[in-house]
């Protein structure tokens, strides 16, 4: 191989590596089952929804649940919301139930956000003890994917590529 070609290939590879690293730095979700008490039963909770009625997580047993801890002031959460709305629309009939757990300190901004983003799935007001039950929600967003039997299959921390959720949800929906 001519030396110029070798240099060109090396430079392109180095550039691509740096660009890839750069992209990872800015979009640094920590996804997967490993650190997430995977395959353990999702801690149950009963929490108030925005209309005041209570929602109990275990009442969704039989559905695939994507449980999203978020807040209105969290920029990556805001960016993810439209995709979750789409997912509920796209997979709802097949058994997906999105549930939002707002970690806002008050429901007022959540109600406004719910309207603004045309959210089509229930949102409950989370508490510190809910966060602790899920291993500590000490940074947002964090999403837990729960199978039809109520077990946590994966945890996605930080802004996560929408295709990751789509793939995981597709896999779970196709079981049973």
């Amino acid at each position: 191989m001519r030396p110029q070609i070798k240099w060109a290939i090396l430079l392109i590879l180095a550039g691509a590596s740096i660009a890839g690293f750069n992209s990872l730095r800015q979009h640094n979700p920590k996804s997967g089952a490993a650190g997430a008490k995977a395959q353990t039963l999702a801690p149950d909770f009963t929490l108030p929804q925005l209309d005041g009625t209570q929602l109990t997580l275990s009442s969704y047993r039989g559905k695939v649940v994507l449980l999203d801890f978020w807040a209105t002031w969290c920029v990556p959460c805001r960016e993810e919301t439209p995709h979750f709305v789409e997912m509920q629309q796209k997979y709802g009939d097949r058994g997906l139930q999105m549930i939002g757990v707002s970690m806002d300190d008050s429901p007022d901004p959540v109600r406004a956000f719910y309207q603004q983003f045309h959210m089509n799935y229930p949102v409950v007001m989370g508490t510190a003890s809910t966060g602790e039950a899920y291993g500590g929600v000490l940074g947002l967003p964090i999403a837990f994917l729960i199978d039809r039997d109520g077990r946590i299959v994966s945890r996605h921390m930080g802004a996560t590529d929408p295709s990751v959720f789509d793939n995981d949800v597709e896999k779970l929906l196709s079981t049973r």
Binding site: A8, W73, C74, P76, M103, G136, V137, G139
Partner: protein
């Protein structure tokens, strides 16, 4: 030969640009770098006999109750006016050279909506010795999981 030169120069340019954007992404900060404090430096300071800062959490109360820096106080999210008012009320009687450390950790650093407005509010009040804790990802990853001094509750 000409084509090869073009390939080599384009690749070199791409490499330089990628390097620059990487550097910029790593260094971008809403707060001047000289006023940032790294978690490990804060831990050292807390363990030393040097003057300790007044540590104020300017993020979410729900997150504060789950975990916060031992000895720190919750004052409210800097992203909204109510939080800023609580912050102003907490510090109004303090000397303007008081060493204050603000932190949040709700979101990745470049997305935090709270620290910058809180920092601006203190500067507008004339505080001259304010530092902000640099939390790269979130409070769980960059503080709690590292075993740094953490407390729970109000």
């Amino acid at each position: 030969m000409k084509i090869m030169k073009v390939i080599v120069s384009t690749s070199a340019l791409f490499l330089v640009l990628a390097g620059i954007t990487t550097q910029a992404a790593a260094q971008w900060s809403p707060i001047a770098p000289g006023r940032l404090m790294n978690p490990e430096d804060l831990v050292k300071l807390l363990q030393s006999s040097k003057q300790k800062p007044l540590m104020l959490q300017v993020g979410s109360h729900t997150l504060f109750v789950q975990a916060h820096i031992s000895g720190s106080e919750y004052v409210g999210p800097g992203a909204n006016e109510a939080g800023l008012q609580q912050l102003r009320k907490r510090v109004e009687s303090l000397p303007r050279n008081k060493f204050i450390l603000l932190y949040c950790g709700c979101c990745p650093w470049s997305h935090c909506p709270n620290v910058k407005p809180a920092d601006d509010a203190l500067h507008a009040m004339g505080f001259t010795n304010v530092k902000v804790l640099y939390i790269a990802d979130n409070f769980g990853t960059d503080w709690v999981n590292k075993g740094y001094p953490t407390a729970k509750g109000e």
